[in-house]
Every structure is written in structure tokens, then in C-alpha cells.
């Protein structure tokens, strides 16, 4: 499995598109938080600064570090709007499968530019978030044995299944087994 090791990620939150609250484009002060989804280890959670100047098309270009524990299948990105009067309001979130940047066709520390559809608390589509992700280090700690939480039913995770017999080469993803002597 691609998630057999802990990883450190460098996530750059680049920009957002068409962010709305209750159907109305937001005026300013959008910010984004990122965390790895994992029930067991306390997930580190980092945020960008609010974009005071930008409106519903905010631009941050801010680098955040996220620890991705082994076994964690998603990185969760949430866009919020900060308002001094009303507090923080959730604009939308995106669940990013780790398989989108690990174990696909590319090398481990490749810089990925990714974009995702944000969905609001009701599950409705609400804008797009543009990020870049790079795996910085992978440490050989033991794989955690806890189960991963279920993603929201709206998203379906599908792995590309190649049913075709090529009779040729197959892509192998190197599997790392935890060192038996370390706990």
C-alpha cells in the first residue's frame, strides 16, 4: 500500500476560485487549513493567512507543512472566511486522496500541481482550490494499525483499473514493510 510510511508534505495553497457563502461570492479574508485525515494520531493542522485583498478569487501562495501519518488516506483542505463580526465560516472542503500524489505514475518527491472541487457543509459544489504538493521526506516509522475514517458519501474513490492484458510491463509501486524490530 502506498501509505506504509509516514511522510512530510509541503503543501502550497495557491489560490481559490469562485468561493461563495450562501450563494453569494465572499468579499475577502478567505483562508485555508490543511490537515491529514487520521483518527489515531493527532493530525497537525496548519492554516494560511487570510487574503484581505482578494475576494471570491483569493490568492495566497503560502507553503504549509503537513505531517502525513502512515495509513492516512486523505489530506483535507478547508476554505474558510474570517469575519471579525461573525467569526470563521466554512466555505468548503476537499478530501484529497493521498493516491493522487503518492504512488501514481510519478517519482516520490515530484512536485504536483493539483486542483479540487470544494464542497460546502451541505455537500454542494462551491468553488475550486488550487494547491501544489510535494512529499519532502518519508520516514521509516511503523505503519499505524488503526483504520481510516470513512470519507463523506459524496466522494467516490476510484483507482484506475486497467483490465487490459498488455502482456507487457506492469507498473509496480514499491512496497515498504515496517521494520520488525522497531515498534
Amino acid at each position: 500500500m502506498a501509505n506504509a510510511r509516514n511522510r512530510s508534505l509541503e503543501v502550497t495553497i495557491i489560490s481559490g476560485e469562485d468561493l461563495r457563502i450562501n450563494g453569494r461570492p465572499i468579499k475577502n479574508n478567505a483562508f485555508v487549513t490543511v490537515k491529514a485525515e487520521s483518527r489515531c494520531s493527532p493530525s497537525s493542522h496548519e492554516s494560511t493567512k487570510p487574503d484581505a485583498r482578494g475576494d471570491s478569487y483569493p490568492y495566497w501562495d503560502e507553503k504549509l507543512h503537513v505531517e502525513l501519518p502512515a495509513g492516512s488516506p486523505y489530506v483535507v483542505v478547508e476554505a474558510h472566511r474570517r469575519s471579525s463580526s461573525a467569526g470563521d465560516k466554512l466555505v468548503g472542503m476537499a478530501w484529497i486522496p493521498v493516491s493522487d500524489f503518492v504512488g501514481d505514475y510519478t517519482p516520490e518527491n515530484h512536485l504536483h500541481f493539483l486542483s479540487y472541487r470544494l464542497r460546502d457543509a451541505k455537500g454542494l459544489r462551491n468553488g475550486i482550490i488550487n494547491i501544489s504538493v510535494r512529499v519532502v521526506t518519508s520516514s521509516h516509522k511503523g505503519a499505524s494499525s488503526c483504520s481510516s475514517p470513512l470519507p463523506p458519501p459524496v466522494l467516490e474513490s476510484r483507482m484506475p483499473v486497467d483490465r487490459e492484458k498488455h502482456g507487457g510491463t506492469v507498473t509496480g509501486v514499491p512496497v515498504w514493510f515496517p521494520n520488525q524490530w522497531k515498534s
Partner: protein, 585 residues
């Protein structure tokens, strides 16, 4: 990480959108993803390409034939472009050098490098008689001169080399090589400085007029270049800023290839964005890049004007344009990358679905005409292959078929065209044509039309190459006669491939209704979205139906190629990948 590109689309006045901009690339003339569908009309003046590079050729020769009795030959070289109809168009001539069999001419010949065509160059060397020596070279009648030799090559052969030089043996006009040693000709190509120059400008406006009723205007700027015919050619536009009469847009990057020269007048228009596509003009002004630089230095604003409807005068508005930042920079050109070793790898996927018709039937799209006339598949393969082959050093191309029933009786949606089990590569464009002809005998047409597997395989190849280096860029040409059956699966595969060094060109042949395919080519500004919620990083697909009528001398298929250098540069610049250090000559 700023990226610059032109979103001018050639040909018809399609009410298309703008070309999707790369993400993470600042303002760069990009638009706001799904915010703009059908934002604008972009048209191209007849025969004027938006992005090309000006090249200068320097010539030298050695060991020329000695035709003069008392002294050596006095050589001069003439350069021609061979057009598609076979006629030669003279591009220029060098000066005459007296008394030398190893001339190094000083006079350079200029021409525009066009990636999407095969530019055949013919060189003639003449010995100019003494009595003509003081006349302007242009006036010399070539038939009065003594012919010393001829050479020919394709421009891409020269510009793709690291030394940007090519040495050719001269021969007689009848191509009788080896009869006598006629010497050699060396051609060196250099890109003009303009191809690397770009400016990054941050525009701001004040006191824009309110065109919206219930809120403020949503302004954006469109910059156009004035052309000789009198009209203007849009070259760039900013993003739309909502609800703001004093906006500052993200920095806009313009390459000199787009604006021509710093003195060229540019028309800058400010519009209020309307979702209907009918944007209201707030005001316009005309400034050159040099003028904008002055505005920046002096921290002045320029007033917009608008044509007052009733008396046709230009009314000066209170709205002003400011240049908050002006940065001139050099960026690597497409040829800088190519000559430093970057390559374009060509992959072809041919449709073997039953809708093409039995290949033995003259009505079939796969019919191989004994007269040698190409069927649409062969045509598309040749037109793309013959251009791209110069950008691939080993000329090993990938050739696949899809939708056919192979030797083992099963229908495959990605099989090797050469019939082999392990290797999907063939040698040269002729290798693709041979594999295609062979496959027509061995594979029976089946169906349905699915692209997903071919795209996934191409993505796999492109992704794997990243483990070795970042200097390969892949171009997948899919030639199909029909409409997709797996639209969502294809979109998923495209989204997964959108962050890889890959561009996909789809050519539709035959008479089917291809409207659905046009959705894959996100020219309307809507980014493709996969079933897992991921959105395409960039627009890597272009589609054209072969039957589309095209203006100008290039085919519709070759017009697809025009965008490739831009897509390649966007990918490289977004990742800050630079050309490899050039070795000294």
C-alpha cells in the same frame, strides 16, 4: 513562477472562450477558471500568427569550386523557402565576398520560425562576376551568375541542434552528388533577442464607471495589438475582479513576441464582465509598452476615453490607468529548451472501431488507396509526425490502436500497432505508417470508442519519464472517427494526466457529430472535473475535426500544433525547469 502565453485562437470567429491558464502562475493573462465561459471573441488577422520566433541565419561555406581563371570565385548565397506548391520564395541574399573559396558572409537572412510547419530551406551559392560587384545585391539577376552549388534542409534541423548549426554538402541542381566535390555550406541560426524578452506589468485603475445596476462593475482589461490592416488583435487579458471600481489586477506577463516591439501601439480596453458574455466597455486607451514604462516611472495615470454615442467624439473619462509595477525580464524560449536537449516524444493512437467501415471498402476511412492517396488516418499521422519528428532525437515513436480485436480474439482498447507483445515503439514516421498498414490486416475492427486506456498508458509513460529527467514532453495524437462512449472515464483519465508533461491532440475524421468531443477541449474556460472531485490542472487537450475548413496555408491538423510550444513552455515555467546549461560552441 509567472507564466506568459497568448490566448489567441486561430481561424474562424468561434465564440469560444479563452485558453485555460495554468494555475499557480500568477495573473499571466489567465482567466478565472469557470468564471468566464465565452468571455470573448478572439480572431486572428489573416495569415498573421500570434506567436512565432524571429530567426536570423548566418551562412558560411568552405572549399567552393573555383570558377575564375585569374583569381578565386566571388561567392554570394541566396536563401529560399520552398512552399507547399513547390515554388521557391526568396527570403534573402548575402553580400558578395571577393576572391574567396571559404566565405563567411556577414549579411544575415531573417525568417520567422513556425513550429507547426515543416519549413524547407533551399540555398543556392553563386559566383558573381566582377562587373556586378558594386551593384546592390538585390538587383543581381541570378541567371547571369555562375552557379556554384545547392543545398537544402529543414529549419527545424538547424534550430534543434545544440550548436544551432548545420553543415551541408553542396550539390548540383540535378542532385548529382559526388560527381565533383562542390564544397560545403554551414548555416547557423540565431533567435532574435525579442524572443526572450518579456515584461511583467501590474495594472491598477481608479474611478472606473459603474456599469452594474445593483452592485459595482466587475472590471477586467483586454490588451490588443494594432495591426497594419487597421484592426487590433487581442493578445492578453487580466482576470476579472468582482465589484470594484478601483481594482489592482495580478501581474500580467507579456512576451515581446506578443507585443512586437516596445513602440508598437497597444489598445487597452477596460470592460465590465457580464455572465451573458456581453461585456460593457468602460473605457479604452492606446499606449505602447514604452509608454507604459514611462507611466510607471513617472507614477502617472492615463485617462480612459470612450466614444460618446451621440456625436462620435472621444470623451475623456475620469477613470485612469496606472502601472504600479513594470518589470522587464528575460525568459527562455522554446528553442532554448529544445536546443539544450529537451525533446518532444510523439505517440499515436488509431481508432479501430467498426464505425470506420471495412478497410477493403473504398468508402472506409481506413481504405488504403492503391493510387497512394492518403486516407484521413495516414494524413493526420503524416502531418503531425513530419513536424514533430525533428524534435525527437531517436525518432522512436509510440504507436497504439484502440477498439480493435487483436490476434487473440479479444477487443483491446490499447494495443501495440506493430503487433508486438512488448514494444510499443516504431522507428520514424514511416515506421508508424508501416505498423498501421500491418495492423489493418491483422486486427479486425470492433468497438466501442474508449479513450481512457490509451490516455492512462500515455500518462504512465510520461510519468515514468519523470524519474529519469524532466526534459521529455509527450504529445499524444488520437485519431478517431467516432464519438466517445466513456465520456466520464476519459475525463477522469485526462484530469489525472493534466499535471504531467503531456499534451493530447484529438483529430476527428469522417462525418460524425463531434460536439461532445469539443467539451474535452476546455476552450470555453470550464475546467474538466473528475468523478473524484479533482479538477484538471491545465487544459492539455485540443480537438479539431479534420473536415473543418481552415484559412491559410496550413491544414487544420497542423494548426493544432501551434499551441504546443506554448503548452510546453507553460509546463516548464510553472515548475521553474530551465534549459540545460548550454555548452560552448
Amino acid at each position: 513562477m509567472g507564466s506568459c502565453f497568448s490566448d489567441v485562437r486561430g481561424g474562424q470567429q468561434a465564440v469560444g472562450g479563452t485558453r485555460q491558464g495554468p494555475i499557480g502562475g500568477g495573473g499571466g493573462g489567465g482567466n478565472n477558471g469557470g468564471h468566464n465561459d465565452a468571455v470573448d471573441h478572439f480572431f486572428r488577422a489573416r495569415g498573421q500568427p500570434a506567436l512565432f520566433s524571429q530567426i536570423e541565419l548566418s551562412l558560411s561555406a568552405s572549399k567552393l569550386r573555383d570558377l575564375d581563371i585569374m583569381s578565386k570565385s566571388d561567392p554570394m548565397a541566396v536563401v529560399y523557402l520552398r512552399k507547399t506548391d513547390g515554388k521557391l520564395e526568396e527570403l534573402g541574399r548575402t553580400e558578395v565576398i571577393s576572391n574567396s573559396l571559404d566565405p563567411a558572409w556577414i549579411e544575415k537572412i531573417s525568417l520567422a520560425y513556425q513550429f507547426e510547419t515543416v519549413q524547407h530551406l533551399i540555398f543556392h551559392v553563386y559566383d558573381v562576376d566582377t562587373k556586378y560587384h558594386n551593384l546592390p545585391v538585390k538587383t543581381l539577376k541570378l541567371k547571369d551568375q555562375d552557379f556554384l552549388g545547392e543545398a537544402s534542409c529543414v529549419l527545424s534541423e538547424i534550430v534543434t541542434k545544440q550548436s544551432r548549426s548545420l553543415t551541408l554538402s553542396l550539390h548540383n541542381k540535378n542532385l548529382q552528388v559526388g560527381l565533383r566535390n562542390l564544397g560545403t555550406l554551414t548555416i547557423h541560426a540565431e533567435e532574435s533577442v525579442a524572443s526572450r524578452t518579456a515584461v511583467e506589468i501590474t495594472f491598477r485603475c481608479s474611478h472606473l464607471e459603474n456599469k452594474d445596476i445593483f452592485s459595482k462593475s466587475d472590471p477586467f482589461l483586454r490588451i490588443s495589438r494594432v495591426v497594419e490592416s487597421g484592426g487590433s488583435l487581442p493578445i492578453c487579458k487580466t482576470e476579472v475582479i468582482n465589484n470594484n471600481l478601483n481594482p489592482t489586477w495580478r501581474p500580467l506577463c507579456l512576451s515581446m513576441q506578443q507585443f512586437g516591439s516596445k513602440e508598437n501601439p497597444l489598445v487597452i480596453e477596460c470592460f465590465d464582465f457580464n455572465t451573458s458574455g456581453n461585456h460593457a466597455l468602460i473605457g479604452k486607451l492606446q499606449k505602447s509598452i514604452a509608454d507604459l514604462e514611462k507611466l510607471h516611472k513617472e507614477r502617472n495615470g492615463a485617462n480612459f476615453t470612450i466614444t460618446a454615442s451621440h456625436h462620435g467624439h472621444e470623451k475623456v473619462l475620469r477613470s485612469q490607468l496606472f502601472v504600479d509595477q513594470f518589470l522587464e525580464k528575460q525568459q527562455y524560449s522554446f528553442l532554448d529548451y529544445i536546443s539544450s536537449g529537451f525533446e518532444l516524444n510523439f505517440m499515436v493512437a488509431v481508432d479501430f472501431t467498426a464505425s470506420n467501415g471495412n478497410p477493403r471498402n473504398p468508402d472506409s476511412l481506413h481504405y488504403m488507396d492503391p493510387s497512394g492517396r492518403y486516407n484521413p488516418y495516414q494524413q493526420a499521422i503524416m502531418e503531425v509526425g513530419e513536424v514533430i519528428q525533428f524534435y525527437d532525437s531517436d525518432r522512436r515513436f509510440t504507436a497504439w490502436g484502440f477498439g480493435g480485436r487483436t490476434y487473440d480474439g479479444t477487443v483491446s482498447h490499447c494495443f501495440n500497432l506493430n503487433g508486438s507483445q512488448d514494444g510499443y515503439e516504431v522507428e520514424g514516421v514511416e515506421g508508424i505508417m508501416a505498423a498501421y498498414a500491418g495492423a489493418l490486416h491483422n486486427v479486425s475492427l470492433a468497438g466501442p470508442t474508449l479513450f481512457g486506456q490509451v490516455i492512462n498508458r500515455a500518462a504512465q509513460v510520461a510519468g515514468h519519464s519523470l524519474s529519469h529527467n524532466h526534459s521529455k514532453y509527450y504529445v499524444l495524437l488520437i485519431i478517431t472517427d467516432g464519438v466517445l462512449t466513456d465520456q466520464q472515464e476519459t475525463i477522469d483519465a485526462l484530469v489525472r494526466a493534466s499535471d504531467l508533461p503531456l499534451s493530447i491532440l484529438i483529430v476527428g475524421v469522417g462525418g460524425a457529430d463531434f460536439t461532445q468531443m469539443e467539451k474535452l477541449d476546455a476552450d470555453n474556460g470550464i475546467r474538466l472535473e473528475s468523478s473524484t472531485g479533482r479538477v484538471a490542472t491545465r487544459d492539455i487537450v485540443q480537438f479539431v475535426p479534420m473536415r473543418e475548413v481552415h484559412r491559410g496555408s496550413i491544414s487544420v491538423v497542423q494548426a493544432l500544433l501551434e499551441e504546443l510550444p506554448g503548452q510546453f513552455l507553460t509546463y516548464m515555467r510553472a515548475r521553474d525547469i530551465k534549459p540545460r546549461a548550454q555548452m560552448p560552441l
